[in-house]
């Protein structure tokens, strides 16, 4: 495979992977400058960008955003099995609510010769594989939310000590205003993004995008992607 063809065939993953790395580097530099401004204002020693990237302050900012993104995809993957939106290309058609038949899903005896091995296997392997996307998103969500709580209590306590206040324990932190403020401010933005995408895509179009219905598709057609 030529490099050119590889780039074309993997453009979506590569573009977002690159954008992620650039944004993370940008966040590290902006966060570092902000953190040092606070340290200087408190007459404390500024730190290097490398030390900042290893700090809980940077880690909690990264983790709080990751957990909400993976929660979004976890809920999206699972809830769209059961919840539909009439007219939306984000929804499947209204008569296919639920996990659908083995024939529709090409599993067990209905698997094709080129289906994934576990789709044809049946039993526990099929059960696991049939919800592996949601499980992976859910697992990353739980782990990154846990990481948010661990790095969050450390960052919170560092600030408490800087302000000559007592540090708190992890148990106290996970019911604290700081933890839930960080968590819910991210969740609300994910939920409105999904709701607006599901509803706006009923009436609006993006020619050529698989996230949109074809430009000429009627508003009432559901589960059609362009």
């Amino acid at each position: 495979m030529t490099a050119r063809r590889f780039l074309r065939d993997n453009g979506l993953g590569l573009a977002f992977g690159t954008a992620f790395v650039l944004a993370l580097i940008g966040q590290a530099f902006a966060g570092h400058a902000d953190f040092n401004n606070q340290l200087v204002a408190d007459d404390l020693q500024p730190i290097s960008v490398g030390d900042y990237m290893a700090s809980s302050d940077f880690a909690v900012d990264v983790m709080e955003n990751w957990q909400s993104e993976y929660l979004q995809f976890f809920l999206y993957v699972f809830l769209t099995v059961w919840l539909v939106q009439r007219g939306s290309p984000e929804s499947k058609s209204l008569d296919r609510i639920g996990v659908e038949s083995d024939e529709d899903q090409q599993v067990g005896p209905h698997a094709r010769p080129d289906s994934p091995r576990w789709a044809a296997a049946g039993g526990i392997r099929l059960k696991v594989y049939a919800s592996s996307l949601g499980q992976a998103m859910g697992a990353i969500f739980v782990l990154s939310w846990l990481a948010q709580s661990v790095t969050g209590v450390s960052a919170y306590n560092e600030e408490q000590l800087r302000q000559l206040q007592a540090p708190t324990s992890w148990r106290e932190y996970i019911v604290s205003a700081d933890f839930w403020d960080r968590t819910l401010q991210n969740w609300q933005s994910e939920f409105i993004a999904i709701a607006s995408m599901a509803i706006l895509s009923i009436y609006l179009r993006q020619r050529g995008s698989p996230e949109s219905k074809p430009v000429g598709a009627p508003h009432h057609s559901t589960g059609v992607e362009g």
């Binding site: 408190d42 404390l44 020693q45 730190i47 809980s56 306590n157 560092e158 000559l164 206040q165 540090p167």
Partner: protein, 141 residues
Amino acid sequence: MPWRWQWGAAAATGAALVLTTACGAVEERRTAAMAAALDFERALGARDGGAVCRALAPATREEVAQSAKTTCAKGILDEEVPSADAVPEDVQSVDVNGRQARVVFPADTLFLSLFPGGWKIVAAGCTPRPQRPYRCTLKGG
């Protein structure tokens, strides 16, 4: 061993290494912060103004000199900072988060911060107040 298991084993080893290193680093910081607090209390007990001031953070040292209108080494001995026992057994607790620390003695609580020369005392003679910062006899700014 299948290659996927090898990757899994490598990832688990890497994670264990990161955790061990991180825990080691935290323990090292706790020990260093406690040692700096003990040095401060010993110098205070010995009324060695120069040593007390060397243990202070720059802004705290500056504040002592400014408020006493003399050098830090002379002014510090007039401050009413309680002198705690200076043996490790008397340390009630050490909390380290990032580059900030709190060391609690029976008679005093100290706040420290990490500087290029090591852990320095940011505030001393501190007593807790519910829902508010500690009230400290000695602090910067």
